[in-house]
């Protein structure tokens, strides 16, 4: 019998509970410090004239005072450009749907022919998606001249990538059973695509297209700023003429059509799924 051994717990040093281990805490602090540093650098580099903010509320109040009341007599003049805005969004989306299918089949790993075609498909996705609709508008106005055609092309160019990316993902996740069943009947590749894969991804395509359409209505509202048709042209002109009461009318009207298109799109999508 040697002495009584003390219980293990008593020999261990007493530790207080900590949420993070020391390493994790250090990393969290480093991430926080880096974020703070980047923010400070960004804000300081913007050369903000803080004095401008001193009378900002007065300026804003002044602007709002000029904008009110809305000049409703202007409304009949903007009905046509508003309809044009919706046309641009719809036709652009429709064209994008047509082009997105081949691009999606190229960019999906299980339907593309080889590595080169896959890279081509992915390249189209990246280029289309990373250039904003308005910048596409700038490009197409230089090509087709000012007008709605440039706007339609801009909407289509941006939407192709958006639609094709999601459809390509759907193609990659398609159920193989149906594909194998169709292939087992001796179908050609094109028949497998149209009979087995297309029916499975069609709901995704339609749903995404309707969703993209309501984004496109919002995008088309500013395409006129670069001359690509729609209500934006009138907004830009009214702002440059300091016709602020007309600006209010246009802003309200734009808001209404964007909200209406969002509601319509949500309704249609609820019926699809």
């Amino acid at each position: 019998m040697s002495g009584v051994t003390p219980p293990a717990a008593a020999t261990r040093e007493r530790r207080t509970w900590q949420r993070r281990s020391r390493g994790a805490a250090l990393r969290a602090w480093l991430a926080f410090a880096a974020a703070a540093f980047v923010t400070a650098w960004s804000v300081s580099a913007l050369d903000i004239e803080w004095a401008f903010f001193a009378d900002a509320h007065a300026q804003a109040a002044d602007l709002l005072g000029r904008m009110w009341p809305p000049r409703w007599a202007y409304l009949p003049q903007i009905v046509k450009p508003l309809v044009e805005t919706i046309h641009i969004a719809t036709l652009g989306t429709a064209i994008a749907v047509v082009f997105s299918l081949p691009v999606a089949f190229l960019a999906a790993r299980n339907t593309t022919a080889n590595r080169t075609t896959w890279l081509v498909g992915r390249g189209i996705l990246v280029v289309s998606r990373s250039v904003n609709t308005v910048i596409w508008g700038l490009v197409f106005v230089a090509v087709f001249g000012p007008g709605p055609v440039a706007g339609i092309c801009a909407v289509a160019a941006r939407s192709v990538g958006f639609l094709a990316k999601l459809v390509a993902e759907a193609i990659e996740e398609v159920q193989v059973g149906q594909v194998e069943a169709i292939a087992a009947t001796g179908a050609r590749t094109s028949q497998v695509w149209t009979m087995a894969i297309l029916p499975q991804v069609l709901p995704v395509l339609v749903g995404t297209a309707v969703y993209r359409w309501d984004i496109n209505v919002r995008e088309s509202s500013v395409l006129g700023f670069v001359g690509a048709g729609g209500i934006g042209l009138y907004l830009y002109a009214s702002i440059n003429q300091f016709a602020w009461q007309q600006v209010t009318v246009i802003l309200i009207a734009t808001s209404v059509i964007v909200l209406a298109s969002e509601a319509l799109s949500a309704f249609v999508r609820s019926r699809i799924s």
């Binding site: 804003a60 990373s130 250039v131 700038l138 919002r218 500013v222 830009y236 702002i239």
Partner: protein
Amino acid sequence: MFGGPWQRRTLLLIFAAYCVWSVRDLPIDYPRVWRGFGRAADMLARMWPPDFSRWQILGKGMLESIQMAIAASVAGALLCIPLALCAARNLAPTPLYLAARALIVVGRTFHEVIVAILFVKLFGFGAVAGMLTLAFSSAIFLAKMIAEDIENVRPGPVEAIRATGARFGQVVVFAIVPQVVVRALGVFIYRIDANLRHSTVIGIVGAGGIGQTLAASFTRYDYDFSAAILLCIAALVALGEWFSDWVRRRLR
């Protein structure tokens, strides 16, 4: 999906009729569009090779876009906190809730470029107007997402903290924030990426960043420089998306 085949065919037919009508309704200058195809070939030829020789201007514009996006994301994150609290039905009194929701719903309908031009009129040309634009849009977007998360918090912790006699601020800090902070961080990171994308375009109306450089080069038919700018924008956007995906995957 929309009933039987006949219903679907009718819908397709209506849509086709709409397309025909809309094309005829639009003021399209067909000869000009036809000439456009020749122009496109010409433009592509002049875009190649992209001209990176003025890389200082290019770099300055890109840097300004990035700084604008970061500063705006942080400003938007700060602004969104009160807005998100007001827009959560389970926290705010009804009049405040309705006002905040109305601001979010209406604010979201305005494209960044429209907001930008209004800020340009208020604060003059430059990155400050752009920063404020993106901050405004971010605050509204973040508030919408976070308010939804706040409405979906589990009520247990909230009631428990409240039962200890905590004030409103303490309930928010100890019961709400721990439940929403991770998702909010994810949304915030996504918003940085979105701001990066938008920062390249609002320059078109004079709100600073690379968009301003791009618009200027286009108006001067300086297409090889435009091509260089477009390539840089595409690279920046792709990089931003990759970064945001990477961070959000690590957050989960």
